[in-house]
Symmetry: C2
Subunit: 288 residues, 2 copies
């Protein structure tokens, strides 16, 4: 018998991920209050009134929620997962949240005999729909082995990074590098544009050398085309860099460029660009 999976959070990412679990043959249980519940029900998912009943009848509970407070509330709040989840079950949070919160959930669930994994993803809506997400996993090796077939129904590049929190730390690092690289390309393109240099030619020649990056390739193209349809939204990247900065504070690491890019993203939000793709950072660099 395959594991029965309770899936909480049916947004842009969660809905296609849960649909892929159904396609792979899992019994999927969702909440009536979730946004995408109708599509899931049509595809064969069972619908539950509340978290308590859902968690009590699931072998694996997966959360895919906006941020740390939402995940915390669903797990540790009144009638949350923690109150009803069966001993021996597995809890997997696939949201992007603070590593410290992930470690705390691992701790409190562990005290109830429930293993927990932090398994944030990258690859966006396209990756979620095509079951080709990258999944960065923190937690015990045994829990990872148990979850692997479930991950394989949703992603391709699935790596067990280390102990609890390691998945979220890796995701934070990913978002730092992506954000700072966008800033780098935005500054270079702004300087070149003001100097009258052809950006498309410059992008091409730089892609042939040490400045090469997927960001220069894809987000550089977006900047040249002024195509800022998301993609990954400015406001979400700002949230992710806050996680990185908060983690840096806890570990006493100075993250100067990360902080600078967070400020730049804040400026982009103040300009009214929070719903645009993160390559629209260019618009806040390339102004005066």
């Amino acid at each position: 018998m395959m594991d029965k999976i309770g899936f909480i959070g049916l947004g842009i990412m969660g809905k296609p991920m849960a649909l892929n679990l159904l396609k792979a043959g899992y019994e999927v249980q969702v909440l009536k209050s979730s946004g995408g519940v109708q599509d899931l029900q049509n595809a064969g998912a069972s619908v539950f009134e509340d978290v308590k009943t859902l968690a009590a009848t699931s072998d694996i509970v997966i959360t895919m929620l906006p941020d740390s407070p939402e995940v915390n509330e669903v797990v540790t709040g009144t009638d949350g997962v923690l109150n009803s989840i069966k001993e021996g079950s597995l809890f997997i949070d696939m949201s992007t949240i603070a590593p410290s919160v992930a470690r705390n959930l691992y701790q409190v669930l562990g005290e109830k005999g429930v293993e927990a994994l932090d398994a944030p993803v990258s690859g966006g809506q396209v990756g979620a729909e095509s079951a080709s997400l990258s999944i960065m996993v923190g937690g015990n090796a045994s829990a990872f082995e148990r979850a692997l077939p479930v991950f394989q129904a949703m992603g391709k590049n699935i790596i067990h990074i280390g102990s609890a929190g390691a998945g979220q730390t890796t995701k934070a690092c990913n978002q730092m590098i992506v954000g700072i690289t966008i800033q780098a390309v935005a500054e270079a393109f702004t300087l070149a544009e003001k100097a009258g240099v052809d950006l498309e030619k410059m992008r091409e020649v730089l892609l042939g050398g040490f400045a090469q990056s997927r960001i220069l390739d894809l987000h550089g193209k977006r900047m040249i085309d002024k195509n800022f349809k998301p993609g990954f939204k400015i406001k979400l990247h700002k949230k992710d860099l806050n996680i990185a900065l908060e983690t840096g504070k806890q570990l006493e690491v100075e993250l100067n460029a990360t902080r600078q890019v967070a400020t730049q993203l804040e400026k982009a939000i103040e300009m009214g660009n929070s719903e645009l793709d993160h390559s629209a950072l260019y618009l806040s660099v390339n102004q005066k």
Copy 2:
């Protein structure tokens, strides 16, 4: 008859570049005072006492010098190139200097009937030795066409970017992106290391997603291996970012991340790391 080339500046880069011109069959003329003159003479170059005589007898004069002041002095100084170069000759500066200086040289040489190209390179010593440099060229199309066979004896990825100064602007942008990306990887690796995450595993998973870059690949590996043998030295990268910042000032562009990385490089120099590879920026981010 092939063009007679006067080559000024036989350092780590200039020497192998001049040797490659000899290999390609060019008559190469060098200065007695240049560091690498003996090797060039052995390979068949003619040796001259001073810039004036060298420039007067060359069809093409190439400079490969440390910075803007040196190039300026060689061209516009007493008994410099400008005083003796023949009308109809071609001047090519392949050093990395300020775009504004390149444009000024183009101007003053043009007034003497001499076309000028700014043609900075990337690819380092290895690229210079193997004649596989990337060459970013600014100046008139006719001058570019004339110089192309000469460039092809030294490089592979040869692109005419735009008018005078465009090559140097592109090089400045390259150095900005490379420097900021190194900073990005250094901050991510520092955070991950303090959090106890395996850096090699993290590098691997991040190379599979949007954080992918040649810097994460090669310089990330150097940081993990603590291998900071240059490569490209911290002090040279600092010089190049100064050019970018000066250009930004002239064009009234705010380059916040570039400035931040320049400060970080300055810190690395104060730590005594100026002769190390630029990936050693990691050492100044990852301290405390």
